[in-house]
């Protein structure tokens, strides 16, 4: 094999390798995005502890198990149904973002608060913090 043949093959391999790198980037990115976006149905590492149940029929001190993504509201389609008159049908969503909890308000009428701060966009919630949905108060505790 002459030097020129070797160079020709090398040239093709070089270009292929560049594109291989792009493909590799794409595959790894896809994997990363999927692990971040699609919530696993696994049991999440926290519970909600009922602090002030009002009309929901729950007991003070009762634990509500959480999913990786839990929708909360008065409507029966929610993962966590809280039937209090101050709740909206779709009130809020609590989700596990790999290393922290995020709470987001879904446009509820009476609002959502974390430790007294109103929630507009998704905000992180730490263990031990109190979540207020309308007038219902819940606390995030380790499972």
């Amino acid at each position: 094999m002459s030097v020129d043949d070797a160079l020709l093959i090398g040239r093709v391999v070089f270009l292929l390798a560049l594109y291989l790198f792009l493909v590799l980037l794409g595959v790894l990115l896809w994997r990363e995005l999927r692990s971040r976006v699609s919530p696993s149905s696994e049991r999440a590492p926290c519970d909600l502890l009922v602090v002030e149940p009002f009309d929901t029929g729950l007991e003070v001190g009762e634990r509500i198990p959480l999913l990786a993504v839990s929708s909360i509201g008065r409507g029966p389609e929610n993962d966590i149904v809280l039937n209090d008159s101050f709740m909206s049908t779709s009130h809020a969503r609590l989700l596990w973002d790999r290393k922290r909890w995020l709470l987001e308000d879904l446009g509820s009428t009476n609002g959502t608060r974390v430790s007294g701060r109103p929630v507009r966009k998704a905000v992180p919630v730490k263990e031990g913090e109190t979540i207020e949905l309308g007038r219902v108060r819940l606390k995030l505790v380790p499972a």
């Binding site: 160079l7 093709v12 070089f14 270009l15 390798a17 560049l18 790198f21 792009l22 980037l25 992180p124």
Partner: protein, 426 residues
């Protein structure tokens, strides 16, 4: 923050692959030039790869949570840049390796600093003043090292620095800090003028002042490429900060008016437009560079002539502004498209980092830094391929240029730090 060590496996895997590609490129270049492999030709990629892997291992300690895609992509782009620059002028290649090592050191330092990126906002007027002052000093006491007739470098002991590269980062910091403070005002308050509702232009005054001063200084230096870049950063950041289309639309309209005015006022603007529209009519004079660049690109075809086998040195200033022509000639359209895809990936990743941050200032800063990379690419690739009039800016990570390499690495360092902080905000 916990000081736990974490090996960044994803980054290391990609770095090793990108290192292999770079070594292969240098092997091909060496064989093409000497008809056999000269192992000492491989010192640049080996030094560069080893230092990058060391940086990755250091990041495992300094910022284990930082994004793992940025560094490998930047490494591959920079590596191909070093390859092409070395192929064109091995002395410049040597210098470029030294500058990128300095850039990697800058990343390591930025990530090791205990302060948050957000603290940059506290001194926003200081940053803007330092940047502008540096340009003034350059105009007064700088050096004109390429004989363009304009002083654009500050030098000491043979090392020359182009302050405009630092200015673009400082300006992005200033814009981000100011817009984060005032974005609600800028987005909501309006002036009523009969039926038309205008945005509150008076709150824009500090922004326009800083931007206008930098523009004036750049025009004084005849650096139209950077002036265009700064306009782009300004409009991109104000749009992202306020989500109101009226700002970019007004800005672009004013730019068009200004460009038409400049066309009639300044003969060199007219010359450039003429060269852009009819390069082949001036192929031996003002259009020489552009025409040579086009010939280089077309002779590359789809697969390129092969590394070290073309004649890209026929293009004037091929190592800096026209590096794309050299890449196009020797790696072909396929190589150019792949490198542009890598730059696009970098922009996409930077915007993802901005979205992931919880701090308004950091979001805007990430946007500004990414916009810098994107607009520079558009301006110089568009100029080289005759999509738009040619104005010289470096192609990020690929062009030869110490200050631009250092500034680009510093921007990546800031993006890495923003991504590292995203998960640690209380």
């Amino acid at each position: 923050m916990t000081a736990r060590y974490r090996v960044r496996w994803l980054e290391l895997l990609l770095l090793v692959v990108s290192g292999g590609i770079q070594v292969l490129g240098f092997v091909l270049l060496s064989v093409a030039q000497h008809r056999h492999l000269v192992t000492s030709d491989l010192r640049y990629p080996v030094v560069f790869i080893v230092s990058t892997i060391a940086l990755s291992l250091w990041l495992g300690r300094a910022a284990p949570g930082a994004d793992q895609f940025l560094l490998p992509v930047v490494t591959l782009l920079t590596g191909v840049g070093i390859l092409m620059v070395t192929r064109l002028d091995s002395g410049l290649g040597h210098r470029q390796v030294l500058w990128t090592l300095a850039g990697e050191l800058a990343i390591a330092i930025v990530l090791a600093l205990p302060r948050s990126v957000t603290q940059l906002r506290l001194y926003k007027y200081t940053w803007a003043s330092i940047g502008l002052l540096l340009i003034v000093l350059t105009i007064l006491g700088g050096t004109d090292i390429n004989g363009s007739g304009y002083r654009r470098w500050i030098g000491f002991h043979g090392v020359y620095f182009q302050p405009v590269e630092l200015l673009k980062i400082l300006i992005a910091v200033f814009f981000a800090a100011y817009l984060d403070e005032k974005h609600e005002l800028l987005a909501s308050a309006r002036i009523r003028l009969k039926m038309i509702r205008l945005p509150p232009f008076q709150y824009l005054a500090p922004l326009v002042l800083v931007w206008g001063l930098s523009l004036a200084l750049l025009v004084k230096q005849n650096d139209l490429g950077s002036a265009l870049l700064f306009l782009g950063i300004f409009l991109a950041m104000i749009y992202v900060g306020t989500a109101r289309a009226v700002y970019p639309v007004t800005g672009i309209a004013m730019f068009v008016v200004g460009a038409i005015g400049a066309f009639h006022l300044f003969p060199h603007v007219r010359d450039r437009t003429e060269v852009w529209l009819n390069p082949f009519a001036h192929s031996s004079t003002t259009g020489f560079q552009l025409v040579q660049g086009l010939i280089a690109l077309s002779s590359g075809g789809i697969g390129g002539q092969g590394l070290g086998l073309g004649m890209p040195y026929k293009v004037p200033v091929v190592t800096t502004d026209f590096i794309l022509a050299a890449i196009g000639e020797e790696l072909g359209l396929a190589g150019v498209v792949c490198l542009l895809a890598l730059l696009l990936f970098l922009v996409f990743r930077g915007l993802t980092i901005g979205i992931g941050s919880e701090d308004g200032f950091q979001k805007l800063l990430a946007t500004g830094l990414v916009a810098t990379i994107a607009i520079q690419t558009i301006v110089i690739v568009g100029g080289t391929t005759r999509l738009m009039p040619l104005t010289g800016v470096p192609l990020p990570f690929l062009s030869y240029g110490g200050s631009s390499a250092l500034a680009d690495f510093l921007m990546i360092g800031l993006l890495l730090k923003i991504s590292a902080e995203a998960g640690t905000v209380p």
